[in-house]
Structure formats: structure tokens, C-alpha cells
């Protein structure tokens, strides 16, 4: 039997324990950009459900509302009914293609700046630094034995995290109900169970993902890095360490001692210290890099201090990197930006957007569908006429009650009445009151002379009395008995 040590080679372990990441605070252009984007994205997230939008007395006054109970989706001036869900699908397609476009042009900008995972992790790390101190203090605290101070710090950090997590999960539910009402009900314990459950689940996930999982979400769980890796090419911007300029590394002192034999990187490890995912960009592009550009900020600061040109770590396309290495000038930015790939993405994205705008602008907010009675298909009337019956559904997609007029065309001397009318008073049209933003149902009777083809096509047309321009038509059949006797 072989020696256990030989079999259990530590290198071959199937499980790698997470190495703690304690990113150092940094300031600079990209850090400022990140602050700004964090403010904007969090602002949008928290404020949106509270924006009011007057739709009159028959519809909610919340600008953005996903009303699951009543199956309506409100977004400012647009209201979407369940059968129009393709607008939402279209928006998702646009979001997808938009991400392709952004990724092929500027790389993983989504990951670095606007992904919720990034934004909340960033927020959590700021809280961590505010309570535990910067990188080195965090190291010390981590290694320190559990004592009063450590417990107090941990408890206060987790409490603040939990509060942020609750605020995050809490804000989510306001998109699905009237925000002020729900807020009141939520705090008085009257809200629906599903509201509390949602807040609970989202609080837990935020707390765990932002506080403990962090970069592991990006490296192991998220599909985006894989997809984005496929979307990027040699003309996509990415954070690059210019090894041709930096290597071999050596401290300022060494460089002074042996001028000419060292590169620009002084091996200060600042880029590693600030990295929120704990990687070393100098090892080359890697999946752990979310291109947040904080290492650029850190490195630029160092270069300023030692009096060397900025941009040892920089946003560069890999094509430009090759050119620069060979001592040539970069490809012009416009040429990099406008290339078949980006133009194709942009045109597809724009075409879908235009098509949706056109469709939204042209849709009618009225709709009729009529079902012919199956049993019986026709009814012989005493005076020789034949009657058919239909069940019509009238969609009133406007936020006001409307009187609708159903008329028929294409059926000779027929008359039309509804279950509320009578054949004696029947005419060519039927009027129905349909409540605001709902579907009205009416039973229609049509009587026509018994002599005629066994099956005749005709149509119902619906118009709203307050807006004659919009109408909808549905084709149906009129059936007669076989002539036997």
C-alpha cells in the first residue's frame, strides 16, 4: 500500500476554500464613476415605485406597477395586458442584445459598474471598511481571537448589513402593489403573507450574496462571465496590465541601483490590495476580473507618486495592446467602436425598439372576440327564421368605462340583439357598457331568414362611442339547418 501522503496531494483537492478578500479603499476617476453609478442605480431602484402617475379614477396612480393580482403591467403612459406580454418579451430581447452591444464595445462594463451583485457588494464593503477599518485592520481583526471587541464589531457590521438587506428586499415588493398602501400595511402587519415571504427571501439572499458570497457569485454562479467571454473580441475594451512596460518588476530602489534593467511596475501590490475580487491583474485577463477598474485608479496613483506615466494598468483592447507592444499607434477609437459586429447589434437592437414603439403607438385599446355556440349550432324559429347565438368578449383597455357598439356586416337581412334585448326590438347594432380596464361579456343573438346557404361568413365589429377611430372586427359563421322536408 502506498503512502497516504502521496495519494492525498494537497494540490489535487476537489474543494478549494475561499481565500478572504479585504479590498483596500481607493480613490480616483473610476472610483468616482462607480460612486455616481451606484447612486443612480440605487436611486432608480428605491424611488421608482414611489413615483405617481395620474391615470384617472379607474386605474392605479403608480408610475411603475406590476399588478399580478389583476394581471396588468403599468409603466408610465403604457399599460400592458397579459395578451400583450410580447412587449415585455421584446424589452427582454432588447436588454439582451443591448448587453451584447455594450460587451462587444466596452467589455464587461455591466459587471464592473451596474450589476446588482457588484453594486451591493461594493456597498457592503464600504460598510465593512467603515466598521472594521481598512484592509490591514480587517486582516488583524480576522486573525484576532474572539473577544468582546471582535464580537461587538461583527455584530454591528452584520446588523448594518441586515438593515441594508432588508431595505433592499423591502423595496422590491413596492413594484407589485400600491407603494404607500403596502408600506402602511407592511408595518402594521396587515400585508399579505407573500409580501413578508418575498422580503424575507430577498433579505436573506442580499445578506448572503453581498456579505459573504461576493466574488464567488461572479466566479462560480453567474452565467454572464461565460456569455460575455464569448461576446468579447480583440476590439473590446478590457482592463489590461501592460506587461511589456511593467516587467520585470522592481522596487524604486532597485531601479535606481540598476537603471535600465527594470520595468515600470514597482511591485507595490496596490492593484491586488484594492481588487474587490482579490485577483492579481498582472497575471493577465481572467474570469475573476469584473473590470471595475479600481486597480487602474490604484496604479495611476502609484505612478503619479513615483513620477512615471499613468496607464500601466489601463482600459485597452487586445488589438491595441499588440500594436502598443510593437511600438505602433492605437487603432482610432471610432474605427474600433464602429465595426460590423457593433453595427449589427445596434441595428438589430434599434429595429426591435422601433418596431415596438410603432406597435405601441398603433395598438387599439378595444378588442372583440366572439365564440359561436356549439350546441345548438342554430335554432329554428317559429316564423321560419333561424337564430344563431354567440358569446362575445369585449376588451376595454382604456382606463374609463366605455359604451361600446357592436355591429354586424355581411349577413343580408339579419337582426342582432343581446341577452338583455329581445328579437322584437332587435336592430343592426347592440350597445354594451364595459367597465373601465376590463373585459365585458355579452351573449349575442342573430336571426336571419331560413332560406340561405347552410354556412355563411359574416363579422362583428366593435367601436367605442367615445372614440370611433379605433375598432376591432371578428369573423364568425352563421349556420342554418339542412333543408330536408
Amino acid at each position: 500500500m502506498s503512502n497516504p501522503e502521496e495519494i492525498l496531494d494537497p494540490e489535487l483537492k476537489l474543494y478549494e476554500k475561499r481565500k478572504g478578500v479585504y479590498p483596500k479603499a481607493v480613490d480616483g476617476t473610476f472610483r468616482k464613476l462607480k460612486w455616481a453609478i451606484m447612486a443612480v442605480t440605487l436611486g432608480i431602484y428605491y424611488i421608482t415605485p414611489w413615483i405617481r402617475w395620474d391615470r384617472g379614477p379607474y386605474a392605479p396612480d403608480q408610475a411603475v406597477l406590476v399588478d399580478l393580482a389583476n394581471r396588468r403591467f403599468f409603466m408610465f403612459g403604457i399599460e400592458i395586458w397579459p395578451h400583450e406580454f410580447y412587449y415585455v418579451a421584446g424589452m427582454l430581447v432588447m436588454a439582451g442584445i443591448g448587453l451584447f452591444l455594450v460587451t462587444s464595445a466596452v467589455g464587461r462594463a455591466w459587471c464592473g459598474y451596474s450589476c446588482p451583485q457588484t453594486v451591493w457588494t461594493d456597498l457592503f464593503q464600504h460598510i465593512e471598511r467603515a466598521i472594521d477599518g481598512d484592509r490591514n485592520a480587517q486582516f488583524r481583526l480576522q486573525d484576532a481571537p474572539w473577544g468582546l471587541k471582535k464580537i461587538a464589531k461583527r455584530l454591528s457590521k452584520w446588523t448594518v448589513w441586515l438593515l441594508v438587506a432588508m431595505a433592499t428586499g423591502g423595496a422590491w415588493i413596492f413594484y407589485f402593489a400600491d407603494a404607500p398602501t403596502l408600506a402602511r400595511e407592511f408595518f402594521t402587519g396587515e400585508a399579505a403573507f407573500v409580501a413578508y415571504a418575498t422580503v424575507g427571501v430577498l433579505t436573506a439572499t442580499t445578506f448572503i450574496f453581498g456579505g459573504f458570497m461576493r466574488e464567488q457569485v461572479c466566479v462560480y454562479m453567474c452565467p454572464w462571465p461565460r456569455i460575455q467571454a464569448a461576446m468579447m473580441d480583440e476590439k473590446s475594451l478590457t482592463v489590461t496590465y501592460k506587461d511589456w512596460r511593467g516587467e520585470p518588476r522592481g522596487s524604486v530602489k532597485k531601479a535606481e541601483a540598476q537603471p535600465g534593467s527594470f520595468g515600470d511596475c514597482i511591485d507595490c501590490n496596490q492593484c491586488v490590495a484594492v481588487c474587490p475580487t482579490g485577483i492579481d491583474i498582472r497575471e493577465g485577463p481572467q474570469i475573476g476580473c469584473i473590470t471595475c477598474a479600481l486597480c487602474i485608479d490604484a496604479c495611476d496613483k502609484v505612478m503619479d507618486q513615483v513620477g512615471r506615466p499613468r496607464g500601466l494598468i489601463d482600459y485597452v483592447t487586445s488589438e491595441d495592446a499588440e500594436l502598443e507592444k510593437a511600438g505602433q499607434a492605437h487603432t482610432p477609437v471610432l474605427k474600433t467602436l464602429f465595426r460590423p459586429r457593433t453595427i449589427l447589434y445596434f441595428s438589430v437592437w434599434g429595429a426591435i425598439g422601433m418596431a415596438m414603439l410603432f406597435a405601441v403607438g398603433n395598438r387599439t385599446r378595444i378588442d372583440i372576440s366572439a365564440n359561436h355556440d356549439r350546441n345548438p349550432l342554430y335554432v329554428q324559429l317559429a316564423d321560419g327564421d333561424v337564430r344563431n347565438a354567440y358569446t362575445a368578449n369585449l376588451r376595454n383597455m382604456e382606463n374609463r368605462p366605455r359604451t361600446m357598439e357592436i355591429s354586424m356586416s355581411g349577413l343580408g337581412q339579419a337582426v342582432l340583439w343581446s341577452s338583455e334585448g329581445a328579437r322584437e326590438t332587435a336592430g343592426q347594432t347592440v350597445t354594451v357598457k364595459v367597465p373601465a380596464d376590463s373585459v365585458g361579456r355579452v351573449r349575442l343573438f342573430v336571426a336571419a331568414p331560413g332560406a340561405g346557404p347552410q354556412r355563411e361568413e359574416f363579422s362583428f365589429t366593435v367601436q367605442a362611442e367615445d372614440d370611433r377611430t379605433a375598432q376591432d372586427t371578428h369573423d364568425v359563421f352563421f349556420e342554418r339547418p339542412e333543408r330536408a322536408e
Binding site: 500500500m1 497516504p4 356549439r374 350546441n375 345548438p376 335554432v379 324559429l381 317559429a382 321560419g384 322536408e485
Partner: protein, 316 residues
């Protein structure tokens, strides 16, 4: 075997003691989570057996402490629904049938309920779409033997048609003109011609003219001088496009020779008043329902009930 057991150096685990061609098996213990899951399922099973029906016995299974049964669940659901519907049923019974059409909400509830009840009690004869068939009237059309306003429909439903053991039942009997020897077969053929001319199925003929004379003597008492029938006696209108037993020569010959005797049960003894009212509303809603005749309503009010306002048109 056991003596062959030894500790494997590489893993520090005992072997099971078997050896096949130098291959040994490690006695690796069950993973903890697996073991605990097993224990948990055992406990679960024990609790389940105590709480719920489990052991099959001769006639039924053990009942379980909770007394749960799928039949019980079903009964509970049915009871809950009945309780929900109770107010509607009560409102239906206490509303005057003439007022029902005005109360749209209640009427709609009644029609819904009637639709279900119809599927249980009536489809056997009248068909799923209430379109009937030969001998079973189509309830969608506008021809009514006994009247098509709500009150008349309800009366028919409660008392049925031709229930010999019931005084208030709708009753009429057409003579079997041929079988009883009242008319000769050739006379019956003449009558058939006449009836077919009445409903525009045939061109006037000598036979039809002879039939007209026979009709006047034998049929007008019930079917009327104009052959338009009489609802008091359930005598059908012979001039329109609808006939319960068919207007072809063979059917008419059979009807006049042997007469017909359609029967409908009286639902008053089988169904409660609310269900009957629901059925009434449903049948009335199918398309042929008639408005209550004005003079009938006032007479009815004066005669049957003392409640409500005094009929103002009594003198007119």
C-alpha cells in the same frame, strides 16, 4: 472472514473482510446526512401512521388520530360551497318571480346555477345544449306548448307534464284518430295534407281542401280556428315552422293515427324551490324566453297573493 478485517493504511478505514482476487472493499460508514435523512424518514413514517389512515384492516384502514379521510375532505369542500350559495338560494326563493328579471345580479347567479342543475337533471331528454330532439322540445326556440314566460316555465317544472297521479300537472290528450276509428286512413291523409299546407310544406291540393273540412270538425276545438294552437291545453301551433314530432307526412300520419303522449316528471317533488327557480331562469335565458303577459300578471297578483301593491289596471 472477520479475521481478515484490517485497517487500510491509505484511508484509515476498516475493510469489510472479503477479498476477491486481491480486491478488497472498504467498510466506509454512511455519510452523516444520509443517515440522518433515513432516521428522519423513519420518524416521519411513525408519526404519519399514527395521525393518518394507514394499516389496511378487513373492511377499512385504521382511521388515524386526526380522523382525516379524502371523502371527508370532499364533503367539507361541498359543504363550504353550499354555505356560500345559501344566501343566493334564499334570495331566489324570497324574490317574486316577476321581479327576478329586474335584479340582474341575482338573475345571473340563477342562470349559472340553472346551467349546472340542467346538466344533472334535464340533459337526458333535452340534450346538453337544451336543443331537444324529436318528441323532446327544443328549449332554445320561441315555440312554447305551455307558455314561455318565467312563471309558466316554473309551473311546468314544478308540476310536470302528464303526471297522472298529480292534479295540477299540465295535462292534455289528443285523440288517437286512427287507432280509435274516428277517422279513416284516407281521411287522415287528407288531414295530413291540410296541416302541411298550413305550415307551407305543401301546395294546396284537393286532398288538402278535404282535409280542411275534417280539420274544422275534429281539430279546431283544441288547435283553434286559425290552427294556432292553445297554450291552456298545450295544443301546438300548426302553422309555424316548428313541430315537436316532425312535419313530414309519415310523422304527421303517426301523430294523428296514434296520438302522442309525452311526459315530463314534476320536479317539484324532487328538487328544492331554489333549484327549480334557477332552472327556470336558465331555460328562460336560452333565447326563447318570453316577457310575462301583463294581464296575466295582474290577475295572478289579485288571485294568489295579497302582498305587493294593488293592481292598478284591474278596471281596464
Amino acid at each position: 472472514m472477520v479475521d481478515k478485517q484490517r485497517v487500510d493504511e491509505a484511508t484509515g478505514t476498516k475493510t469489510v473482510g472479503h477479498e476477491w482476487d486481491g480486491i478488497e472493499e472498504l467498510d466506509t460508514p454512511m455519510p452523516r446526512w444520509w443517515l440522518w435523512t433515513l432516521y428522519a424518514t423513519i420518524i416521519w413514517a411513525l408519526v404519519y401512521v399514527i395521525l393518518y389512515p394507514a394499516w389496511p384492516m378487513l373492511n377499512s384502514a385504521t382511521e388515524g388520530v386526526l380522523g382525516w379521510s379524502s371523502r371527508g375532505e370532499y364533503q367539507k369542500a361541498v359543504d363550504a360551497r353550499e354555505a356560500e350559495l345559501e344566501p343566493i338560494r334564499q334570495a331566489l326563493v324570497s324574490t317574486d318571480i316577476h321581479d327576478l328579471p329586474k335584479n340582474t345580479a341575482l338573475l345571473n347567479e340563477a342562470i349559472q346555477g340553472g346551467r349546472s342543475a340542467f346538466k344533472v337533471h334535464c340533459v337526458q331528454c333535452h340534450g346538453a345544449g337544451a336543443a331537444g330532439s324529436k318528441g323532446y322540445p327544443n328549449l332554445n326556440d320561441d315555440e312554447w306548448l305551455w307558455g314561455g314566460d318565467m312563471e309558466a316555465i316554473e309551473y311546468t317544472l314544478i308540476h310536470g307534464i302528464r303526471n297522472p297521479d298529480h292534479d295540477e300537472t299540465r295535462f292534455s290528450q289528443m285523440p288517437a284518430f286512427g287507432r280509435d276509428g274516428i277517422l279513416q286512413p284516407n281521411e287522415i291523409q287528407d288531414l295530413v295534407s291540410h296541416v302541411r299546407v298550413l305550415s307551407n310544406r305543401e301546395q294546396p291540393s284537393a286532398s288538402a281542401t278535404r282535409g280542411a273540412a275534417l280539420f274544422e270538425i275534429n281539430c279546431t276545438i283544441c288547435h283553434g280556428n286559425d290552427a294556432k294552437g292553445d297554450r291552456m291545453q298545450g295544443a301546438p301551433n300548426l302553422t309555424d315552422a316548428i313541430n315537436l314530432y316532425g312535419l313530414d307526412r309519415a310523422s304527421l300520419t303517426e301523430t294523428i293515427t296514434n296520438s302522442r303522449y309525452g311526459v315530463m316528471p314534476r320536479w317539484g317533488q324532487r328538487l328544492d324551490a331554489a333549484t327549480i327557480r334557477m332552472l327556470t331562469a336558465y331555460v328562460h335565458s336560452l333565447g326563447g324566453g318570453e316577457a310575462a303577459p301583463v294581464e296575466d300578471a295582474s290577475a295572478e297578483q289579485a288571485a294568489a297573493t295579497s302582498e305587493g301593491e294593488t293592481p292598478s289596471d284591474e278596471q281596464s
